[in-house]
């Protein structure tokens, strides 16, 4: 089970990459006094309406080239969410290599659950967002 050691290294690497993106992104927001056309006061506030629902993946990735602070933070958070998912993916191969087919199937089911959470559920909650309000 040496793959387990590799998996734990991958997990720690994921957290380290996330941390690096968050630190750079935070620094950029302060240096540029804002990001993506918003002022720092609009971004850093309890009542801020700037959140994860308002940005597409294309916007976030293209923001990296412009050294946009928010893009760096969003990428860091995406890396964090991806970390355990990659772990599940690696486990599928680990169980398949052991020829443990029951657990290969079980792990594939967990992976499908995660894909549903990322790609399917957002499709039908899209209309719900407009009704979400802050206290």
């Amino acid at each position: 089970m040496d793959l387990e050691t590799d998996i734990s290294k991958a997990l720690r690497a994921g957290v380290a990459i996330c941390l690096a993106f968050l630190l750079v992104g935070t620094a950029l927001v302060f240096i540029n006094s804002g990001a993506d056309g918003y002022t720092i006061d609009q971004i850093v506030s309890n009542a801020s309406t700037i959140n994860s629902s308002g940005f597409s993946l294309v916007e976030i990735v293209s923001g990296l080239a412009r050294l946009d602070g928010l893009s760096f933070i969003f990428v860091g958070l995406m890396v964090l969410i991806a970390t355990p998912i990659i772990r599940v993916l690696m486990s599928i191969f680990a169980f398949a290599m052991e020829r443990n087919w029951l657990y290969t199937v079980i792990t594939i089911i967990v992976f499908i659950d995660l894909m549903v959470a990322i790609f399917v559920v957002p499709q039908f909650i899209h209309g719900m967002i407009s009704t979400t309000r802050l206290p």
Partner: protein, 284 residues
């Protein structure tokens, strides 16, 4: 409040939550949410979003430790993840429906109750040691619910079996719902599911639960992301703080006995729980 002060406060709250979460064994989320909402007035959706995503970092960061000791049972954890991930999706959607109706006080009350009931088993689990019963049933064989670990205090390898997989799975569905609903790791419920439900040894349940928390939180966070509960500049200092705080906490945990510190923090958490309930009941 100037943005720099606000940012520093978020960072300090994150560090403190990570530190206390690691020392108490409750995790950062259950602490950071009352701190952000009650102390700093952060909207509860944003507090839950920052907390849930930070939970992934603490779970993944601690992975090296449990892999080295071979304590976590990846098979048992993975088989239970089917229920926790689906539960987390359901819980996040229930939260969205509650927030859409503006019923924030319901979340505060549920949170307070969950926090209060989390404190009790944490006290009990330290008194228990060893694993005696050798219960098995058809799920033991079918789902390969077995393993072994080296107990450093007893200086021997302990072989164990789990049973009642279906009961573990049912408790995990609830743990997933609570995780998605409140934005916490719900590690205590996961431990109860494996300890009380499946009769696994405590050392195995705590590290397996820690492994599972990251996967559960990834499912919940993805739904939170689409719902817009992740405010980047509230999440970033919280995540950074919790990583730093829990790392420091785990270092101290290894070095010394912390039962008195733990008792102190438990009392603080009980007060925070009561405060959440009172806020929910609109007394505060």
């Amino acid at each position: 409040m100037s943005f720099l002060v606000y940012f520093m406060l978020l960072l300090v709250v994150g560090v403190a939550a990570g530190f206390v979460g690691s020392l108490s064994g409750l995790g950062g989320g259950v602490i950071v949410i009352p701190a952000l909402t009650v102390l700093l007035g952060v909207p509860i959706q944003y507090a839950a979003g920052a907390s849930l995503i930070a939970t992934i970092a603490t779970s993944s960061g601690a992975a090296s430790a449990y892999v080295k000791d071979r304590l976590a049972n990846i098979k048992i954890g993975m088989s239970l993840e089917i229920a926790t991930t689906l539960g987390a999706i359901a819980g996040a959607l229930i939260a969205a429906a509650i927030y859409a109706k503006g019923l924030f006080h319901i979340i505060f009350i549920i949170f307070g109750i969950v926090l209060l009931s989390s404190i009790l088993p944490t006290f009990m689990q330290y008194k228990r040691s060893g694993w005696k019963k050798l219960n098995t049933d058809w799920t033991t064989k079918f789902f390969q619910l077995e393993g072994k670990y080296y107990d450093s205090s007893e200086r021997r390898t302990i072989r164990y079996f789990g049973y009642r997989w279906w009961l573990g799975e049912a408790v995990m569905a609830l743990a997933g719902i609570i995780s998605g609903l409140l934005g916490i790791g719900s590690g205590v419920l996961k431990v109860i599911g494996m300890d009380w439900g499946m009769k696994l040894p405590m050392k195995v349940t705590t590290s397996t639960s820690n492994f599972m928390i990251g996967v559960t939180a990834a499912a919940g966070s993805s739904v939170y992301w689409a719902l817009g509960y992740i405010q980047p500049f509230i999440a970033a200092p919280t995540v950074i703080g919790i990583i730093v705080g829990s790392f420091a906490g785990s270092r101290i945990l290894n070095r010394s006995k912390v039962s008195k510190i733990r008792l102190f923090f438990m009392i603080i958490l009980a007060i925070a729980a009561v405060e959440m309930i009172l806020r929910g009941l609109k007394v505060l």
